[in-house]
């Protein structure tokens, strides 16, 4: 599924990711934890192709496709989805217009036909119900005037609609209260599957109570410095990241 080998990333000439190697097989959910400034968000932006996040070494492939060769929209069409830590507001573009445009653009890139308007409306309503997204939220311009929690719910809503193969969740729990966290986690768990993979980036263990990872990795100083089962997250919660400072 996702294979990252010896990845080096620079931002504005500063080296942030320094030789990161990670493999997430299909059907698994991996968590990446780490202190602030470890390079967690840089990793998610480098994988999705954001300008300014320059990959200076290493490889990253998704199902054998070289991600680093592709434009951001081409990576999305290959099934890569990033749930943003800070989702953007897009004034003037109604949520449903945005999503139908995105879905059809991805289908076109994959050589599939456009989804019809009635089919799309039905799909969007069905998914919305499950995630507590109201018809009002879908009519408004994307994320405009939404609370932090609503924005995160909208990210998962988009994820469910676009049905990606590999999902990166960047600090999805921030800004969510307990009830919203449950709704979002259920939504995420429903998207797990034998042919799908997930990378859950989080600072806190809390989210991992709801989205149970198969593996937990610790990112510090731009490298994976420790890996283990779910119990590693609990140990981190108890002891903090101090013991990795030297490794970093």
């Amino acid at each position: 599924m996702l294979n990252i080998n010896n990845l080096h990333v620079e931002v504005g000439g500063t080296s942030i990711i320094k030789g990161l190697t990670l493999c997430v097989p299909a059907g698994e959910v991996h968590a990446i934890m780490g202190p602030n400034g470890a390079g967690k968000s840089t990793l998610s932006y480098a994988l999705t192709g954001r300008e300014g996040y320059e990959v200076v070494g290493g490889t990253a492939t998704l199902n054998g496709d070289d991600l680093l060769e592709l434009a951001p929209e081409e990576r999305a069409a290959k099934g890569l989805f990033l749930s943003f830590q800070y989702p953007l507001e897009i004034p003037g573009v109604p949520t449903l217009t945005f999503l139908r445009t995105a879905l059809n653009a991805q289908r076109k890139a994959r050589g599939e036909g456009e989804i019809s308007v009635p089919d799309f409306m039905k799909l969007s309503r069905d998914v919305a119900k499950k995630l507590g997204v109201t018809p009002d939220m879908m009519k408004r311009p994307l994320n405009v005037g939404f609370s932090g929690g609503e924005k995160k719910r909208m990210e998962i809503y988009q994820m469910a609609l676009l049905d990606p193969r590999f999902m990166i969740l960047d600090e999805t729990d921030s800004g969510l209260d307990i009830d919203a966290l449950k709704v979002v986690s259920e939504g995420v768990n429903a998207l797990r599957g034998p042919d799908k993979g997930m990378l859950v980036i989080t600072h806190y263990q809390r989210l991992l109570d709801h989205i149970k990872p198969d593996r937990v990795h610790v990112l510090a100083g731009g490298r994976i410095v420790d890996s283990g089962g779910p119990e590693l997250a609990l140990a981190l919660e108890a002891d903090g990241y101090d013991r990795y400072k030297e490794a970093a």
Partner: protein, 394 residues
Amino acid sequence: MSLAELTLSPGEAALLNVFPPTEAGDAARVHLRAAGLPNRRVEAFKWTDLRAALAEGIPQADGSAGLIPECLKDALVLDFAPEGFGLEGDKDQGLIIETEDSLELEGAGPLAMIAAGFAPRAVVLRVTQRQSRPIVLRRHPGAPMRIRLELEAGTQLTLIDTALATAGLSTGLMEIEIGAGAELVRYSLQNGDARAIDLANAEVSVASEGRYQAISLMFGGKLARAETHVTLAGEGASCLIQGAYLLSGTTHADMTTKVMHTSPNGQTRELFKGAVQDRARSVFQGKILVERAAQKTDARQNHHALMLSEGAEIDAKPELEIYADDVQCAHGNTIGALDDQALFYMRQRGIPEAQAKSLLVEAFVTEVFDAIELEGVRNWFSSMARAWLEVSSS
């Protein structure tokens, strides 16, 4: 050397010959011989040099007046062609149409003078009852238009004016008097290419509780200038002036507005939004003047523009001049680029870069059309904007 012996450019010399032998034509000739065409040395034209645009003479007229969209099929259409004036469609009661060969022009600027001089006669429209049928004014390529419009108290009219020549010099002068409690709703569409010059001028006076509402869409031309002067003369008079512009290639569009509040409790709302790319240039000059008597004036002006390429140019001059002490006036002016973060967000969802840019520009500009009450016209303007975006991003 006296002013009367000013050396004329080929364009100025050509204009002298096209002004018909009317009083207005004579007045325009005298003015032109003395002052020449407005050019960059004249403050109000410093970014829109008409003399330079006409340096090689008057471009040969070309193109068509454009089709009437389905949503306006019941409208009364007034055509202004170089051969003369024509009328098509049914007329509602309470509308009187006459032509006048000599109509005085009061205190007008150079553009109005040229337009009045160019037009062999004026068409006078008197509205004595509320009109449910819109009126379309089409300026044909190379044609002059002069309209005098009087709305009696309490009446209402919707007016759509278009200038769609691909080449040539077309002019439009509208002298508008809006009576007490009357309302004029005006939608303007201008589209030209690198050989079209369009000069539009509206002189509007609004009586108490009357309203002038104008929403425009401009694609520019070799030079296109839409100048609007509104005097809110009566107490509680109001105006809403909004415009969108989308410019590419080497086109030039100028939106110049001046609103004068001369009575209390007036209201002005101005919103202009546009996007400019390649080597195109937009000019926005907006002045709101509040006289001492115009207490409790509430005036707001906004101009926001997107620069889509390095070589594009946006010139803006917002001005407030206030002599009354109990007023609420504000203006805002921003010029920027598309938001990179929003672009990346959209691309991450699978939307190709060009399409993402189009969506963002469309969303930005079409806010101006939200105030269009006729749904058909709103969709027409939006689809014109979308078509421009599809061509310019491909």
